[in-house]
Symmetry: C2
Subunit: 325 residues, 2 copies
């Protein structure tokens, strides 16, 4: 029952100075950090689209199987990744779930273990939620709230021709498992923002090509991606060798696969070189970030791929998109 579940859950939420009114009231009240803006983002995950439990009856290959604990961590991580893409500090989340009636309590317990662990890893608090049961599969919706100074916020629509495009790590093949072990680049974003000028940013959630096209479209600019410079994750190579998922090459996986949750940044050349040439560990201790320059922002509104021989051709903005009619 809902009440019993909440009696299990609520004591696990630490008393937080940030929460003037903690969970359990009609709404939570956050103490706003002085002079900062409130940043808000939301992402919803559904069973069979974003994850699949091993007990699921269908035997499709994708999405791969996950535990409720992993789903909980991921649901938080993908929202924190959006805050990172704004250079915002995570403050709090609210979590709504639609639980299957059967086994819902077990799922909810595991789910919230993952949620609480991921929140603690990023010093973020659970500010509230809504627990529903129904005869359908698991749905989880998270809204994350962050804070940012008005002058520190990264946006999508402010890339400038001449900026270099930087990704924070190798791309592709996340379906082999990384998509369930997402590291949002929150610490990295704040450290980068404090040291370097970043004109625009987006997190790579649906694929480098499509997310780059979104960044460029918002900025009313174009981009050239140096295909040879795109860092290819070893998972992209492995997935290509498995020949599933329509037999893409490793670079195609790196360009089109979603759920890498690295950042794509438009940075003026001097700062881009300083950032990429520096030691990531000095910027953020123990970071797994590996920044690489992958291209440049151009005036002409088109997305191009450039091969090692200098030839360019249009780059299709492929990636994950929800299809409905």
């Amino acid at each position: 029952m809902e009440n019993q579940f909440l009696r299990w859950l609520l004591p696990q939420i630490k008393r937080e100075h940030r929460l003037e009114v903690p969970p359990g009231d009609d709404a939570a009240v956050l103490r706003a950090p002085g002079g900062k803006r409130t940043v808000v983002t939301t992402d919803l995950l559904t069973e069979f689209i974003d994850f699949r439990f091993s007990s699921s009856k269908d035997d499709q290959e994708f999405p791969p199987t996950a535990t409720a604990y992993q789903v909980g961590r991921k649901a938080i991580a993908v929202n924190l990744s959006d805050l990172a893409a704004m250079a915002a500090t995570p403050e709090a989340v609210v979590v709504s779930v639609a639980l299957p009636r059967q086994n819902g309590r077990t799922i909810a317990d595991e789910l919230f273990k993952g949620i609480i662990e991921e929140l603690e890893a990023f010093n973020t608090t659970l500010a509230g939620g809504d627990t529903n049961a129904w005869d359908g599969p698991l749905v989880i919706s998270v809204t994350a709230i962050g804070s940012v100074s008005p002058w520190d916020c990264w946006r999508r629509n402010t890339a400038e021709p001449g900026d270099l495009l930087v990704v924070t790590g190798p791309l592709g093949g996340s379906l082999l498992g990384r998509h369930l072990n997402v590291t949002p680049r929150c610490h990295e974003a704040l450290a980068i923002a404090s040291k370097f000028q970043v004109h625009a940013a987006i997190d790579i959630s649906d694929g480098l090509a499509i997310d780059c096209s979104r960044l460029m479209s918002a900025s009313q600019t174009g981009a050239i991606i140096d295909i040879e410079s795109v860092p290819i994750h070893t998972d992209a190579v492995s997935l290509s060798e498995l020949k599933c998922n329509s037999s893409l090459t490793p670079i195609q996986h790196a360009l089109q696969d979603g759920e890498d949750f690295e950042l794509l940044l438009a940075i003026p050349p001097d700062d881009a070189h300083a950032f990429v040439g520096g030691d990531p560990q000095k910027l953020v201790p123990q970071t797994t970030m590996q920044p690489r320059i992958v291209g440049a922002v151009t005036e002409k509104i088109e997305l191009l791929g450039r091969t090692a021989d200098g030839q360019t051709q249009p780059l299709e903005p492929k990636g994950f998109e929800h299809a409905f009619t």
Copy 2:
């Protein structure tokens, strides 16, 4: 497709001074009103539990059929009702949806027509969202963000013995249609907060008895409800005559039915009498509010019902609760 839908939706969202970064980026950025706190609440609605489309195949009586437009309005209204219960001013919402793949676009268009209309009625802005498609029924999750001065915020845990309990309107039978035409008491809450001392508040979403028990439990107090004083909605009488839903009497409907979305307020006696004795229309022009005193907060932690002859007996905290195992 997701992109086409967003191209239809986004131009309908007015440029808003409150949104420093509008929808379309990784997250929205809200300009915080000076010195105020951020209030956040979330509610998720699912097809077959909270609403049913007339095309739904099953022929159950409940939940009654609704249009996607009504679902959109309701999803916003129930969240605004939680902000009203905190005496907070609505500022913005984010909306996540899981759309059925078939007919999803038509549903989304109708849904967001309702969402936008309801938001405009309460001077609230759409700050972002997440559009998903899947092979399941419609799920909609809304997170509402409001603002409140720290000293104006109503809470659940601050009712005091001796306070009178006031409801803002007649209760029961909302299933006959009012549950799809919810009027959140936002304007009323702000007006009441500006004129009268209110010690504690909750919105009646799951039923007077259960929501009163939540208010008392949070405040570590008890309450006596004067059964004869509880205003019974004409819908509660009609529903009782229909003899469906386990044949409750009108007063049982008034005590146990959910989705009235009136406020239950704990108010010191002088202010309670002044509020209830005054003209609601002078407080909020054109309000439908009809405040009534229904009982009192007591020191002893128990929920009692008192009949006209002065007899008291325990009042079961019945109401809607999500069941799962």
